[in-house]
Structure formats: structure tokens, C-alpha cells
């Protein structure tokens, strides 16, 4: 078996047993990437020389010793680019520091392999908003990989990475994981430090793993979770031993089926696969309970006020002064700002900055932003009430399998509406995971993966992983 098709946990055993070296893994991935990434477009940049050097010196006694990890291109790693899929940072930016998750990966012995494509500044659900490159779904090259962490999901699905990190603001880890047929975990708000993640919407963003197995997701989460003085929102609470929790099963657990997530607009084959997964968990000893999350229909409107509002503020730092794009021959400082931003940002980023600026502007703030924050409370309380009755919730990740490339290019609202099943976890701050639960045949004969979404209470990643492990095919 080639090493690139393996998992973190299997490779770790082989490394410790001395059957392979960490450099062998990098070399195998490098060959796979050279042979196939021109078709997929998962990576924006590679650091194979750095990876080989790190692999050669890796301490195999560490939890991720000698194991290569790919990073979404919005996570800073000292000396590497961090383009965020944007013309603004395509050139003229080299990270002067490590993000906390990057530092923790290095400290755990991991090897940084390369940087993956993404929707510009993580704004999108298809990775088609990357200004730099197209990423194709490895299961069907005519279809999207999902987004915004589409490069990370595609790299793992195509065996061009063993595992990767992504970021999830409204579903950007779970939805591409679902579309590509890999595992993607969004930790609870405050579980993982965002220091060094280029901020999109600070009350929603979380970094998490994309892996081939639930076991690997537990391993990678373990390495990056925990308090950090550099991110005041990162909670100072103990991190359980996730790998130990995995095998405990679901016997006696109560799993909620929210009726609002299975209604109109959900592809019948997607629904059937998710319902079958729920039945399997019932057979494994869980009790299925019908529940209601009554404010679900308002999640899209709430999210698309709050996230752009925060983005418009966060992206004001891209002004052409300190890093990245600067317009040529500016007439004055204001002209420098306006033209650098006009030239540097793509259309989706501009749309969201304008939308966010509008909902925060004088006269509209209360009607849009304050109201959305209150509806966010209602959505959060829906989950609190539900988790009074059940241990975890089962839903689809996306209403349909991966769509074709280029569809709905001129209709952003249509694209936003397809995020409805993943937004709630970010608005409520709870944790969620996508686990492959089947596939749907396309008209061209390809098999399109379908993900089961499991949602668990705030900081209950151990529960999440137990259910995910039991649901894994």
C-alpha cells in the first residue's frame, strides 16, 4: 500500500516500528501531488524542501512525530505565504510568525507539507471564490469540492495529504468534507486558538481538522486544542483525551433528529442516507428522539448579517499600507486605500464588505445588526433546549451532493441558502462534525459522497467523536 493513501494513526505505528521513515511519507505524497494535483488544484503552495528537512529531524516519540499535515492558506506559518486565496496577499506577504495551531503542530512533531486553496478570505461554499486557482472535486472533476476549505478537503480525499487543517465560520470545514467524502470537525467556539488565523468573522471562526478517519480527527484535535494567552476567546478549560473516548460507543445515548433539517429542499437521496445512518446508530444502542429547532429557518438571514458585519470590520486592515497589495501611483492616501482594495479584493469579498458596512451603518444598525444578534440568541437557545433532551443531534451537512462547477455563479443568495444546515453550529458556538455516510450516483456515473452531520453541545467534542466513530462506515 502506498503511504499517501494511509492515515495518521496507521502511519504513526509504522514510523514507531521503524518500518518506514517520515521522509518516505513526504516523498510519497510529493509524487502523488506531482502526478495528480494539476487535475485537482488542492494546493496553492508546497514546502517540500522544508517538509523533508523537518521529517528527517522529526521526534517520532511525539504524538504527531513525522506526520505531514496540510494547512489551509489562511493559517500563518513562519516564513511561508498566507494568501487567503486572494490577489491582495498573492505576493508581498510572508508570515512573520506561527499561528498557535501551527506552533502546536510543530511542537507535536508534525511536518508542514503545503498550503491549500480556499474561497477568498474563507467567503464561499465552493472554493470557486478563490482568486488564485480552481479546485475540483476528486470524486467528480466537473463538480465543486465545497468550501471554503475546499483545498484541504480535496487534498485529503485525493490522497494528496494525510490530514489537513481548515477553518469553519459557517460550515467551511464540514461542507467540503461532506462533498469530498472525508471527515471534517468544527470544534466548539473557544476550544482552539485562532491566533494567526486570518480573521473573517471573529464570533464564528474556528480552526479544525479534515482527515480520512474519525480516529485521525481525534488525534489532530488533541494536538491543537487548549487555552492560549494570545486568543482571549480561547477557553481555559481542560481538554479530554479524545482518543480514549472514541471506542465508548453510543449505547444509551439519546440522539436528536430535528424535523426542520429534513424538510423541503433536502435531496431525497441525501435524506435517505442520513436516516439510514441514524438507524445504524439506533441498532448500536442509541435512542432516536424527534426534536425541534424552531428558529432554523432564520439561520441564513442571521448569519448573513452577522458574518459580513464582522468581516467588514476585520478586513479593514487590508488597506495597502502594511502588507500585500498596494495600488500604483496613488494620488493621495484615500486613493491608495480605495484602489488597493478595489484591485486586491474579488467580488464575493466586496459584496460582503458592502453588506456588512451597510448593516452596521448609522440608521440601519438596530434594524439589521442588533436584531440579528437577538435572533442569534433564539437560535442558541433552540440548541440549549434540544441538548436538555438529547446528547447529540443528527442532520445532513448539505441539502444536496456537490453541484457542478459554475452553477449559480451570478446568484449569491442561492449559494447562501444552501448553507442553512451548517450555520446553526457556528451561531450557537457548539461543535459539529461531518462523517461520510454514503454516496449518490450522478448522471455521469460518478459517486458523490454524502455526509452525516453530528452536532454536540459546547465543548462536548468527546461526545461528538464517540457518535462519529460509531457512525463511521
Amino acid at each position: 500500500m502506498s503511504l499517501s493513501t494511509s492515515t495518521l494513526s496507521a502511519l504513526r505505528k509504522q514510523l514507531v516500528a521503524g518500518e518506514i521513515t517520515a521522509v518516505d511519507i513526504v516523498d510519497d505524497l510529493a509524487s502523488a501531488i506531482a502526478a495528480r494535483d494539476s487535475d485537482i488544484g488542492a494546493y496553492l503552495s508546497l514546502d517540500l524542501e522544508g517538509a523533508r528537512a523537518a521529517a528527517a529531524g522529526a521526534d517520532l516519540s511525539l504524538p504527531l512525530g513525522g506526520l505531514p499535515i496540510a494547512l489551509k492558506d489562511n493559517i500563518n506559518a513562519l516564513g511561508q505565504p498566507c494568501t487567503c486565496g486572494s490577489r491582495f496577499l498573492e505576493t508581498g506577504y510572508t508570515a512573520p510568525y506561527d499561528a498557535t495551531v501551527t506552533r502546536r503542530l510543530r511542537d507535536a512533531g508534525a511536518v508542514l507539507l503545503g498550503r491549500t486553496n480556499m474561497d477568498e478570505f474563507a467567503m464561499g461554499s465552493a472554493t470557486e471564490n478563490s482568486a488564485l486557482q480552481l479546485t475540483r472535486n476528486p470524486r467528480d472533476r466537473e463538480r465543486i469540492a465545497g468550501g471554503s476549505s475546499g483545498g484541504s478537503a480535496a487534498a485529503v480525499a485525493a490522497d494528496l495529504a494525510i490530514a489537513a487543517l481548515g477553518s469553519d465560520t459557517g460550515g467551511s470545514i464540514r461542507q467540503p468534507a461532506s462533498h469530498c467524502g472525508v471527515v471534517g470537525l468544527k470544534p466548539s467556539y473557544g476550544r482552539v486558538s485562532r491566533y494567526g488565523l486570518v480573521a473573517f468573522a471573529s464570533s464564528l471562526d474556528q480552526i479544525g481538522p479534515l482527515t480520512k478517519t474519525v480516529e485521525d480527527a481525534a488525534l489532530l484535535l488533541q494536538a491543537i486544542a487548549g487555552p492560549d494567552i494570545r486568543d482571549s476567546t480561547c477557553l481555559d478549560v481542560p481538554v479530554p483525551d479524545y482518543s480514549e473516548e472514541l471506542g465508548k460507543g453510543v449505547a444509551g445515548m439519546r440522539l436528536g433528529i430535528p424535523k426542520e433539517y429534513f424538510g423541503e429542499g433536502i435531496d431525497p437521496q441525501v435524506r435517505a442516507h442520513v436516516e439510514a445512518a441514524a438507524k445504524r446508530l439506533e441498532t448500536a444502542g442509541a435512542e432516536l428522539v424527534e426534536i425541534s429547532l424552531p428558529h432554523t429557518e432564520h439561520a441564513v438571514a442571521t448569519y448573513y448579517i452577522i458574518a459580513p458585519a464582522e468581516a467588514s470590520s476585520n478586513l479593514s486592515r487590508f488597506d495597502g499600507i502594511r502588507y500585500g497589495k498596494r495600488a500604483e501611483a496613488p494620488a493621495d492616501l484615500l486613493d491608495l486605500y480605495c484602489r488597493s482594495r478595489e484591485e486586491g479584493f474579488g467580488p464575493e469579498v466586496k459584496r460582503r464588505i458592502i453588506l456588512g458596512t451597510y448593516v452596521l451603518s448609522s440608521g440601519y444598525y438596530d434594524a439589521y445588526y442588533s436584531r440579528a444578534q437577538k435572533v442569534r440568541t433564539l437560535i442558541r437557545k433552540d440548541f440549549e433546549t434540544a441538548f436538555g433532551q438529547v446528547d447529540a443531534i443528527l442532520t445532513p451537512v448539505a441539502p444536496a451532493p456537490a453541484r457542478k462547477l459554475g452553477e449559480f455563479a451570478d446568484d449569491p443568495l442561492h449559494e447562501y441558502l444552501s448553507d442553512i444546515l451548517t450555520l446553526g453550529a457556528n451561531l450557537a458556538g457548539i461543535c459539529g462534525i461531518s462523517v461520510p455516510c454514503g454516496s449518490v450516483a450522478s448522471e455521469s456515473g460518478t459517486q458523490l459522497p454524502v455526509g452525516l452531520q453530528i452536532l454536540a453541545p459546547h465543548l462536548a467534542e468527546a461526545t461528538l467523536l464517540r457518535v462519529a466513530k460509531a457512525a463511521e462506515l
Binding site: R339, L355, K374
Partner: protein, 125 residues
Amino acid sequence: MERAVDESGAPAEHALAPARAFLSNPRRMATEHIDVRYVAGLARLELSEEETSVFQRQLDAILGHVESLSALDVAGIEPTSYPAPVYDVMREDVPGASLPREAVLRNAPDQAQDQIRVPKVIADA
């Protein structure tokens, strides 16, 4: 080039009209069209004519959807700013290393004398 925001930073008078109209009837959400060019000016974005008209249509549709929230009764509901709020987080008061000046300056599009250079801000006397 005409800008919605003039040199003093004050919004042009016409640009405030939608906000004024809204304020006179604050109970409803804005149903008038978003003034894309004005809002883009606030966000320091200079849009082309084509972008402005495309965004106008798309943002009207998006705002039409988000206005569905106006049907909800949110009286007495506390807003959520952060899903897991923590307050007064302090680190130990111990000095640590800052980012190396050279590494930070290397990213600046224009620099001189160990500083980032920008166009002149103050007019000649």
C-alpha cells in the same frame, strides 16, 4: 473622480438621504434600495460602474431575504455577541519578544529608514 465621501471624511449630503428616510420610520426594516456606491465609499472600496450595478441587484436580493427577520418578535431578548463569552481575560504581566522588525517591514509595499512609507498626508504649507 466623484466620491460619496469627500476629503474631510464627511459623507456627501445626498448619501444620507436613505438613512434619514429610514430614521423617520424606524419600526420597519429598510425597504428602499441600498445605495451601493455610497456604502462602498464608507468601506473605502472604489467600484467600477459594472460592479456597482451587479452588486446593486445581488445585494437587493440578499437584503430582501434578511428582512424576513423583521417578522420575529425579539422584544426582551438579549443580543448574542459571542457564543461563549469570557470577560477580563488577562495574561501574566511578563514582557515577551515582539515580532522582529525586519520580518514585519519586509511585508510593507514601500519602506524607507526602517519605517513604512505612505503618501503625504499633510498638504504643503
